[in-house]
């Protein structure tokens, strides 16, 4: 059942140096209980996409066109009043830095109870009970003790768990998680991934997991959307995308990770650097770095459905290798 349908979303920043099309015609959809991995390198527009869904884009940026249909209602049309009623309640966000959510000078119980009471009229006692449950759900062992602590008494991993617990307080339908484990150590990251996985399976919570790390989401997300220079350039079921990427950029990204490669051998590398949004090449934005580029690519490729459930924005996708992968 579709929970969120984003259609042709465009969020632009009107800067002194020109218009930065940070999000430029992004479309995807998400079912209840589903995890979408939104991946791409820095500056590709992942965070701005997340902020747009929550109506949190500040000037000089604004949503210039498109639809964000959440549970049947268009949030772009509904504007700030509608976004405000949903934000923190039905759609919550967690950030790379949990201190964006946590207040350093308030005890955890104080800030969590306030959060509950901001949207709901229930007794303080039942609010506190709700907080305790939320902490337990993210794998915090002694919630009562934690509730009486201040954020500084926690490690980075524990702070992030508390931030996730706060996001869960109103039992949202959707959580947008922007690089939530990027700053954490691998063993702590694995703990959080395991809690999140359980949470989505048990509660039907949907998630958009934003990250630059394709390997991390590959084991977590149901669907992947890969961004490059403000556009989604490839989407599909996670396993299929990892196994046989269609877009030359996705293929290059996977190949440049030192994994399963011959020890000490030179890594496959994508030449060049990510382009500035203020100075994008004509046609396909990936053209100057693409080994398959030809004259056709001076036009802008559409996001075309190339296979069932798979789409890529490319005139010369890697369909051939896919057949080989299937055959072997």
């Amino acid at each position: 059942m579709t929970l969120l349908q984003v259609e042709d979303l465009a969020t632009h920043f009107f800067t002194r140096d020109g218009v930065a099309k940070a999000v430029d015609g992004v479309s995807f959809s998400l079912d209840r209980g589903e995890i979408l991995g939104l991946v791409g390198e820095s500056g590709s527009g992942k965070s701005v996409t997340g902020f747009s869904l929550l109506g949190l884009v500040d000037p000089p940026g604004r949503i210039v066109s498109g639809k964000i249909v959440f549970d049947g209602e268009d949030l772009v049309k509904g504007g700030e009043p509608m976004m405000r009623t949903l934000r923190g309640k039905r759609i919550a966000m967690i950030f790379q830095d949990p201190m964006m959510t946590l207040n350093p000078v308030l005890r955890i119980d104080t800030q969590m109870v306030e959060t509950v009471l901001a949207h709901e009229r229930i007794s303080r006692k039942s609010a506190l009970e709700r907080c305790r449950e939320a902490l337990a759900r993210v794998g915090i062992a002694s919630p009562d003790e934690r509730l009486k602590s201040y954020p500084h008494q926690f490690s980075g991993g524990m702070r992030q768990r508390v931030a996730i617990a706060i996001a869960l307080l109103h039992e949202p339908d959707l959580i947008i998680a922007d690089e939530p484990t990027t700053a954490l150590d691998v063993t702590i990251q694995a703990q959080i991934l395991s809690e999140v996985q359980k949470l989505c399976a048990d509660t039907g919570l949907a998630m958009i997991w934003i990250t630059h790390d394709l390997a991390v989401v590959s084991g977590l997300a149901d669907q992947l959307a890969v961004m490059y220079a403000g556009k989604i350039i490839e989407t599909g079921e996670t396993g299929r995308v990892i196994e046989a990427p269609l877009h030359p950029y996705t293929k290059g990204l996977i190949a440049s990770v030192p994994q399963g490669q011959k020890h000490g051998a030179l890594l496959a590398q994508i030449p060049g650097t990510t382009p500035s949004l203020l100075n994008l090449p004509e046609g396909c934005s990936f053209r100057p770095r693409c080994p398959r580029a030809d004259a056709a690519c001076q036009e802008e490729p559409p996001l075309g459905a190339l296979l069932p459930g798979r789409a890529a924005r490319c005139f010369h996708p890697h369909l051939d290798e896919r057949r080989e992968a299937l055959a072997s």
Partner: protein, 337 residues
């Protein structure tokens, strides 16, 4: 393997300053005091000429502190670091300067380690000119040569650091280190801030330069995947101590120490099916108040009474493989292997 560098029972202690949250809390009346930290605790290692030794471990385990001591940027509280048989800390005069040039460090954030007011040719050319490594007249040609070796077009020599992308700044940082003709480079999270596609370019550059210039690296990273790829041997640290050491492929294939086993199991890898994350429990303990005995015991699935009481020593458990875990002398090594 002739060692070029020997780290001999080196320790480093700090008094920890308070962070913002802690200062705020103290201001509001909490009893928080600065504490002593044993950042590096009795580490011994030797690195062979031309070798790449990877140093991994989670944040705060002492990797950077060890790297800074090797590069001579800070001195050990105890123990000795010998570079080509000479104790680095006790050298003086010309010998000290020579040693300081021969070991260079490449940092994580090139922006904060490059002077924003200097142009690229000044950043790269200054030290070799000052130290008389190349005659003044030849500096320009020398700088151009190093820039091209590092994959930068020499025509960028008059630009400032802010005019470059992250990947190019990383290359400038490397060029600056190479300019004084070092034998040994400490790479501290040198690719951590880079996007994957750029990270691959810079890793390739490190590998190529090593071949061309016969360099030795101490390659520090929290990313075991990166370290595995580039290193000949890998050293694993946990809370200031060295817990395992071995050749890269063997250590990854058969980690001995339970902590290394957890690290290897949890490196994010490409999956084509949903992964069942089954993380080891517990948090990384505070280095200010480390658990007694084996520092890893509160998180270790194999912990037993001895682990709380006695610090395991690092010893050879197979040829060329060292591990600091009690399981190895209790005939139970098979459970750890």
């Amino acid at each position: 393997m002739t060692p070029i560098l020997e780290i001999d029972a080196v320790s480093k202690r700090f008094v920890k300053e308070l962070d913002v949250a802690e200062r705020t809390a103290r201001f509001l009346g909490s009893k928080i005091e600065p504490l002593a930290i044993h950042a590096v605790d009795g580490v011994s290692l030797s690195i062979g000429r031309g070798e790449v030794l990877g140093l991994v471990g989670e944040s705060g385990c002492g990797k950077s502190t060890l790297g800074r001591m090797v590069a001579g940027l800070t001195t050990p509280s105890e123990g000795h670091i010998r570079f080509r048989d000479a104790d680095v800390a006790s050298l003086t005069g010309a010998a000290a300067r020579e040693a300081a040039l021969k070991i260079q460090m490449v940092f994580q954030d090139p922006m904060s380690s490059l002077n924003p007011r200097l142009r690229v040719d000044e950043i790269v050319g200054e030290a070799p000119r000052v130290h008389g490594i190349v005659p003044r007249k030849e500096t320009a040609a020398y700088v151009d040569d190093i820039l091209s070796r590092c994959g930068l077009d020499p025509s960028v020599r008059r630009r400032y650091p802010h005019q470059f992308s992250g990947g190019q700044r990383a290359r400038i940082g490397i060029a600056r280190a190479l300019a004084v003709k070092p034998d040994f480079i400490v790479c501290d999270e040198s690719v951590a801030a880079l996007d994957v596609s750029i990270q691959a370019q810079v890793l390739n550059l490190f590998m190529r330069l090593r071949e061309e210039l016969n360099l030795t690296y101490l390659f520090i990273s929290h990313d075991l995947g990166v370290v595995e790829h580039i290193s000949d041997r890998i050293a694993v640290m946990y809370l200031g101590r060295l817990v395992e050491l071995g050749t890269a492929e063997d250590l990854m294939a058969r980690p001995n120490h339970p902590y290394t086993q957890a690290l290897v199991a949890e490196i994010p890898t490409f999956e084509t099916k949903k992964k069942q994350y089954s993380a080891i429990k517990g948090e990384i303990p505070s280095p200010m108040n480390p658990p007694p005995g084996c520092h890893f015991h509160p998180r270790c699935p194999h912990a037993h009474p001895r682990c709380k009481a006695e610090r395991p020593t690092l010893r050879e458990v197979a040829p060329g493989r060292f591990s600091a875990c009690h399981l190895n002398d209790e005939g139970a090594a098979s459970t750890a292997a």
